[in-house]
């Protein structure tokens, strides 16, 4: 079994970025000046993380207010008031689909490519991921109004066709080799992963790099098992949350018995308490013994590091880096 460490999702904003944003909102600095700060933030994060040998990282999602914004704006979709993001004391603006998605250009990958170019980090593009909400999570946290979409399936399909495939195609062309489809919804009991398997496979046809599906805020055994089985011959890798709940190792063996690669979120991104190195070593040793079919094991955190204060997030990154 090959063991590697990875990072994904959103990072805490530094005080500098937070200050720049509030100055921008009160029209004290220009958009250009704000963009400059965004790029400094990105560069600092990439330079720090890639000095360690992480197999892959994200872009820190510094430009995102939440998993759906500003994507909603790019899709020309209005947003509602604030809604709680699962069981967190964190709130997002809910997309309201009154009309069909209009997504003319692959904005997400375009902006990130430009940012990487301007900070002189294009040579690292193949280790940095594009982050997007997964279809199950998008439809579960949106409202459909009027006759825009006849069902959540209808919306999920259109979102994949118009947004995800467009981004995937452009991202690959630009040199990206990783896409993350965040699917916290699949950890809940409200949804059956079965409904989305075809959509993930569709993305897989379009993107020949790695497609990662982080599933967090819990563990839904049924969904993990069916996804691990159905997607085993694709370039799709699940990232599962092993820190929110205690997962019985036998159950894990059973759920993952058909897959060759998996990401395991051992580091808790929702608690400041530092995990002991010995604990992780031991856990990994157990996984090595138990999951004999796994060829590639990716160690990571259980959800976005942004739920931690910045200082602690970086401390946990350093901890993970000991396993690269």
């Amino acid at each position: 079994m090959k063991i590697m460490s990875i990072l994904y999702g959103s990072m805490p904003r530094s005080r500098r970025l937070a200050r720049a944003l509030s100055r921008y909102y009160s029209q004290k600095i220009s958009l250009e000046a704000l963009d400059e700060i965004y790029r400094k933030e990105l560069k600092r994060y990439i330079d720090f993380t890639l000095t360690y040998n992480f197999f892959r990282i994200s872009d820190g999602m510094f430009r995102w207010d939440d998993l759906f914004n500003p994507l909603a704006e790019y899709m020309k979709i209005p947003v509602n008031g604030l809604k709680r993001f699962y069981d967190n004391n964190f709130f997002f603006r809910q997309p309201v689909f009154k009309e069909k998605i209009r997504y003319e250009t692959p904005v997400i990958s375009e902006i990130l490519t430009k940012d990487l170019k301007l900070i002189g980090s294009l040579d690292r593009i193949n280790r940095i991921s594009i982050s997007l909400p997964g279809p199950a999570t998008l439809v579960a946290n949106s409202l459909i109004e009027g006759s825009s979409y006849t069902s959540t399936n209808d919306l999920a399909r259109d979102y994949i066709e118009k947004v995800v495939l467009k981004e995937a195609e452009n991202a690959y062309k630009q040199g990206f080799r990783h896409i993350d489809l965040h699917e916290p919804e699949l950890a809940s009991e409200n949804v059956k992963a079965d409904d989305y398997i075809d959509l993930y496979k569709r993305v897989s046809e379009y993107f020949r790099g790695f497609i990662w599906i982080p599933i967090y805020f819990g563990y839904n055994s049924r969904n993990i098992k069916i996804l691990a089985e159905e997607l085993r011959d694709t370039n799709i890798i699940l990232i599962i949350d092993l820190a929110t709940k205690n997962i019985d190792i036998e159950k894990l063996r059973n759920d993952l018995s058909k897959t060759k690669a998996v990401g395991v979120g051992l580091i808790n991104s929702r608690n400041t308490k530092m995990e002991k190195i010995a604990y992780i070593r031991e856990y990994v040793a157990t996984l090595e013994k138990t999951l004999s079919n796994i060829e590639d094991l990716y160690l990571t955190h259980n959800t976005n590091l942004e739920f931690l204060p910045e200082k602690v997030a970086y401390k946990k990154i350093r901890l993970l880096s000991k396993f690269t």
Binding site: D66, N89, F91, T272, K273, L308, P309
Partner: protein
């Protein structure tokens, strides 16, 4: 039955939830203090003056039970975590948009070292001309839910530990003469699977207390909350209804003989309601709850509104209440006895 206290209030007593916008000059003084340009004593004097100003503003608007506007508190969890031993701050985390919160971490056994809000109460009591004032305290469940837990073996254990501390604080407030304490628990329904033990833990704060205790729960699932009206050992539930356009009123059928602190103005909208809208909402709730068991308040703290809008909202609220009071007066109903 709720026991009567020896205090008379006008029918439909008007109150606030707690927080009020800080005057601009106070924010300036806080900035100066943080930059090291004024000393602690001057800052405290500024807080005192701000309390005098906002209490007067509430009383001028016609509020029967004012608060101190929580002038001294930056944030409702942070303020308590800073004053209970065992917490540590690693830095801010984002809550939404570009808004951050200094999320505390429990890193050691929690210890109640000294009173937390007694001085706040004493000062408020001194400056208010009303017979009853309201003191707000963040509840144990919300403090725990909005903190990192590095020390206790479970969240439940942490909530119970905090409940004991908050209980001591309320007992101290009672000793100091407070008549009405409101426990704020906005997080209470966010993990429905924890409700059973959470309610029991929150009840710990009421042990041995003989003054009026209310509980404020906002932007929450009231279907879940209302199942626990009876079990929660508080005589008043202060809830938001303007925000939900006065839907969900049916849950108040489960109130039993308890009171509602009825939220009639929306604190997240800058539109100022009309007195008639307020009166209409009160008529609606009077169909479900006896008028002697209704207090009137804004949905939540007014803190996030511009000060002049906060003031206008209180005035409109009182004018709306006065429309109904006039109707009741003709029926000979004018006063209630405060119950604990």
């Amino acid at each position: 039955m709720l026991k009567e206290m020896n205090i008379e209030l006008p029918i439909l007593p008007t109150t606030v939830i707690g927080s009020y916008p800080r005057p601009k000059w106070l924010r300036h003084m806080i900035r100066l203090y943080k930059a090291g340009r004024i000393d602690e004593k001057t800052l405290q004097e500024s807080f005192d003056d701000a309390v005098i100003a906002v209490v007067k503003e509430q009383e001028d608007a016609g509020i029967d039970i004012p608060s101190d506007g929580e002038m001294r508190r930056d944030e409702m969890v942070e303020y308590f975590a800073q004053r209970i031993k065992g917490f540590r701050f690693y830095g801010p985390v984002r809550v939404w948009g570009n808004n951050f919160f200094n999320k505390p971490a429990v890193v050691d056994k929690l210890v109640y070292e000294k009173p937390i809000v007694i001085d706040e109460y004493m000062f408020l009591r001194k400056v208010s001309r009303r017979p009853v004032v309201k003191v707000t305290i963040t509840g144990p469940y919300t403090i725990a839910d909005w903190s990192f837990n590095e020390y206790y073996s479970s969240k439940q254990e942490l909530v119970y530990e905090l409940a004991k501390i908050i209980n001591r604080e309320i007992l101290e407030l009672e000793k100091a003469g407070a008549k009405f304490v409101q426990v704020d628990e906005p997080a209470l329904t966010t993990h429905p699977e924890e409700m059973e033990w959470a309610v029991e833990a929150v009840n710990e704060v009421t042990k041995g207390v003989n003054i009026k205790l209310g509980i404020h729960v906002c932007y929450s699932n009231y279907e879940i909350l209302s199942k626990y009206f009876d079990k929660l050992n508080f005589s008043q539930f202060a809830l938001e209804f303007a925000n939900r356009s006065f839907r969900d009123l049916h849950i108040l059928k489960r109130l039993g003989d308890k009171e509602i602190g009825f939220g009639v103005v929306d604190v997240h909208s800058r539109r100022i309601e009309t007195p008639e809208e307020v009166a209409q909402a009160i008529r609606k709730v009077m169909e479900i709850v006896d008028v002697e068991r209704i207090y009137i308040n804004p949905d939540c703290g007014l803190k996030l509104l511009p000060r002049e809008i906060a003031k206008a909202k209180m005035e409109v609220m009182v004018r709306g209440v006065n429309i109904i009071r006039e109707e009741l007066r003709r029926k000979g109903v004018e006063k209630i006895i405060m119950r604990r």
